[in-house]
């Protein structure tokens, strides 16, 4: 499915994910940034998604992961220009989320790809940062999926 098939809201989610990655000073746009962008939408907030809470959960996941290999207090004086505009890579996890979203849309016979499809694509991940953060944020993925 080409980008033209994306609804305005789905496109906004992709652009929003870029913005999230940039704001966090990350080099890559990942599935987690799509999740954060989608969590800013009122219709998904109504389903219990909260951007602040997810951002905290993602930070906690990172801290926990670093601690698991004995790296603690990885506080680093941040780069002055960490949040300046940069060339971002659209990483595999984000691509996979969109591929899964397209599959969901196709399976439902929907001609257009909506923000809801993108969210379904993002939360379809069973491994990685997104499910780990959702668990920390105590979000019931099955329940969420059923409501989208």
């Amino acid at each position: 499915m080409a980008f033209e098939r994306f609804t305005r809201d789905a496109r906004a989610a992709v652009l929003g994910a870029r913005q999230q990655a940039r704001t966090l000073g990350h080099h890559d746009v990942e599935a987690e940034h799509l999740l954060l962008a989608l969590a800013g939408r009122p219709e998904f907030q109504a389903l219990g998604l909260d951007r602040e809470r997810l951002a905290d959960a993602l930070a906690a996941e990172e801290e926990r992961s670093l601690a698991s290999i004995g790296l603690a207090g990885a506080e680093l004086e941040p780069a002055v220009a960490a949040r300046a505009p940069r060339r971002l890579r659209f990483a595999t996890s984000a691509k996979l989320s969109l591929q899964r979203a397209m599959k969901v849309a196709a399976a439902r016979g929907d001609r257009r790809l909506t923000a809801g499809h993108v969210l379904l694509g993002v939360i379809a991940a069973e491994r990685g940062r997104v499910p780990r953060a959702l668990q920390i944020a105590e979000i019931d993925v099955e329940e969420l999926r059923a409501q989208i």
Partner: protein, 76 residues
């Protein structure tokens, strides 16, 4: 930063997540280190050689950001 020698977590999910967390940490270290080098007057070629990548690669990755922040003038 290491409180103890790094050991591999028992759970593969944790061990693999640690790889991602370290990559993001490395990205942050790279941003700060490149920025400091450029502020200290290093050329893109110097930075690239120190990182073991091409000048084009380091320029593509950092020039826009440092230029936007007024740290580099681009070029070289």
């Amino acid at each position: 930063m290491f409180t103890a020698p790094p050991t591999l977590p028992e759970d593969p999910a944790d061990a693999l997540a640690a790889v991602g967390a370290l990559r993001r940490l490395a990205d942050r270290v790279e941003d700060a280190a490149v920025e400091r080098a450029v502020l200290d007057g290093w050329t893109w070629s110097d930075v690239a050689e120190a990182l073991g990548v091409t000048r084009q690669a380091v320029h593509k990755k950092h020039a826009r950001r440092l230029h936007a922040a007024g740290i580099s003038k681009g070029g070289r």
